[in-house]
């Protein structure tokens, strides 16, 4: 029986054939499902916008899949169902991202002008229409760059230690500590710097204190992502370097790290993006300040998240508009930093 079946498959091409759901049929079947759902809402007491969307979506999908099962068969239904699920989830993700971006842009653009970028909040009351975020932008840039200055080199060194040199108990201890650090709530990092630096060493609030708290949050992200990226570099490249008589440290610096640089940059940028939006630790370290403070090493300083937080807590619409403009600026700063980092590492790649 089996024999004859496979023989038949070779002789009779119809066994190899199957129906194809044409685009027109697909649209028609989906539209049929949607129409049925609409009809149900029209004729029965069903109502509600969210319910309507959900029911029409499910009915349309069902119509589409039923048509596929009639014409194409079971395997194709599973395939199309998986495709529908994937497209749906991608759509939901994009919808979430898009609405955050678009809503922030729409609300933020109102107070966004040249004045906003060039002035601080010095002497501006919550009801005043003036005021800007210059002091906050300066603070955020200084704090984040200082934090990156602390966290990126040390994080890279730790990652290199873990991948290239670390064996035995010290390495696994370091790995555990880094894992624990990933889970530190950001306010705890702020509290630590507050207790240790601001109060303990009597240094007071400053951008530097904020940078240290942010560095604590950045470090584990940088270490873990850099470690994973360095591990991905093929051992054959290291061997090629050793076989040329290149010492190990140079092979790491000139072959391994450049090969991993694109991935390492991505990790660093994720870390930067994550800490740029941090608010809680800054309350305890930078504290916030309405005037321009260009020196991150002494005295309280503002930052964009603190600015947004402060303005958004106000009841007056001028302040709320400033908060939205600040949020939009914050997104733009992260985006600019990411693009800049991409451009810098692109020089390492040829292609």
């Amino acid at each position: 029986m089996n024999m004859s079946k496979s023989a038949q498959a070779i002789i009779n091409p119809s066994v190899l054939r199957c129906g194809r759901l044409g685009p027109g049929q697909a649209v028609a079947a989906t539209a049929g499902g949607v129409a049925l759902a609409a009809l149900a809402f029209w004729l029965t007491p069903l109502q509600g916008r969210a319910g309507f969307l959900l029911v029409t979506y499910l009915a349309g999908t069902t119509g589409y899949l039923l048509a596929a099962s009639k014409i194409e068969g079971r395997r194709s239904v599973v395939d199309r169902l998986a495709a529908v699920l994937m497209v749906t989830t991608v759509g939901i993700c994009l919808l979430a991202l898009g609405s955050v971006l678009i809503y922030t842009a729409v609300r933020g653009v109102k107070a966004l002008d040249w004045y906003f970028f060039t002035h601080s909040m010095n002497g501006v009351g919550p009801r005043d229409d003036a005021g800007g975020a210059y002091h906050a932008i300066v603070g955020t840039l200084q704090q984040v760059l200082l934090a990156a200055l602390f966290a990126v080199p040390s994080g890279l060194l730790v990652a290199i230690y873990l991948t290239e040199y670390g064996t035995g108990r010290l390495a696994s201890l370091v790995r555990t500590v880094i894992d624990v650090m990933v889970g530190i709530p950001s306010i705890v990092a702020g509290l630590f710097i507050y207790a240790f630096w601001v109060l303990g060493l009597r240094r007071g609030f400053s951008g530097l204190a904020a940078a240290m708290a942010l560095a604590i949050l950045m470090l584990p992200i940088v270490v873990r992502s850099a470690e994973e990226m360095i591990k991905l570099v093929p051992p054959a490249l290291r061997e090629a370097a050793y076989a040329l008589g290149i010492p190990r440290w140079r092979a790491i610096l000139r072959v391994v790290l450049p090969t991993a640089s694109a991935g390492i940059t991505t990790g660093v940028m994720l870390a930067v993006a994550r800490v740029t939006g941090e608010t809680a630790p800054l309350l305890l370290t930078a504290f916030g300040f309405d005037s321009i403070q260009n020196d991150p090493f002494s005295g309280p300083q503002s930052s964009l998240p603190l600015f947004v937080f402060g303005q958004a807590s106000s009841a007056f619409s001028a302040a709320v508009d400033r908060a939205w403009a600040g949020a939009l600026t914050l997104i733009a700063v992260v985006l600019l930093l990411t693009v800049a980092a991409r451009l810098v590492t692109r020089r390492n790649r040829l292609v």
Binding site: T167, P234, A236, L237, R238, E239, A240, A241, Y242, A243, L244, G245, I246, P247, R250, A251, R254, V255, P258, T259, S261, N348, R349, L350, V351
Partner: protein, 257 residues
């Protein structure tokens, strides 16, 4: 021109003994082929000749390897200098992906921090000519090394290895990932290079060993899990026509392995 002498070399990966008690002399300006079935330790052995074996964590060796009467495993010997003197080409072409063709060839010199660009260019040209690749790549030296075909990449790796002017060139199955045409080019290249270098080549391909080598060493292992041993070594013509050991004969006539 350097002569290599391995005396009672055994090699381990952790507790697993991969090579046992190999004593073998490699004559200068000759091609020595190492043949044998998979797992017989020939690749491990060739890696002991330039201290690449110890790069793998847990790997160690016993015995001595003399490079012109100097033991490269003696204390006070710098493995980095050993590898500069004894170059290596690997099974799979492994150009540095972030570097251009030019930079790949000069990598050994640049990363040892010794020379300036003006001095590098003639060396790059000479090495590429030596590897038979110059004509194909001279107008695109700034393209990435990975943009070349597999056979060209392997010749690029040979150029990279000879650019640091080693005395000995070790080749660990250099053609196993290449098509027959590229293989032929590499074999021709080996024939040209042996005037200047002592060459050791590991190969699975017995015809290749017969074509390119002057002397041949046959390795084998009794059962999987046993360490590999050297069975016999001699002039290639003798090994392939009337070997002393019947295991060699069985292998080269295709009765096992």
């Amino acid at each position: 021109m350097k002569r290599i002498e391995a005396n009672h070399v055994s090699a381990w990966y952790g507790t697993f003994k991969a090579v046992e008690d190999v004593t073998l002399a490699i004559e200068p300006k000759q091609v020595t082929a190492l043949i044998g079935p998979s797992g017989c330790g020939k690749s491990t052995f060739i890696r002991t000749l330039n201290r690449m074996h110890e790069v793998i964590p847990g790997a160690r060796i016993d015995g001595e390897v003399l490079l012109d009467a100097e033991d490269i495993y003696a204390s006070g010997i710098d493995p980095v200098s050993v590898r500069r003197t004894i170059g290596m080409v690997f099974q799979r072409p492994n150009p540095f992906p972030t570097m251009s063709i030019r930079d790949n060839v000069s990598a050994g010199l640049r990363l040892n921090g010794t020379r300036k660009k003006a001095e590098l260019d003639p060396i790059v040209e000479r090495a590429l000519q030596g590897a038979g690749l110059w004509k194909e790549v001279r107008d695109r030296l700034d393209r990435p090394g990975a943009s070349l075909s597999g056979g060209q990449q392997q010749r690029l790796c040979i150029a990279r290895a000879i650019a640091v002017e080693p005395q000995v060139l070790l080749m660990d199955e250099p053609c196993s990932a290449l098509d027959p045409v590229s293989t032929l080019r590499i074999e021709d290249l080996i024939a040209e290079l042996k005037d200047q270098y002592t060459i050791v080549i590991v190969t699975h391909n017995m015809q290749q060993a017969a074509r390119v080598s002057d002397s041949t060493a046959f390795f084998t292992l009794e059962v999987a899990g046993d360490p590999g041993r050297l069975v016999e070594v001699g002039p290639t013509s003798k090994i392939f026509t009337k070997p002393d050991d019947e295991r060699t004969e069985a292998y080269i006539t295709g009765r096992f392995g």
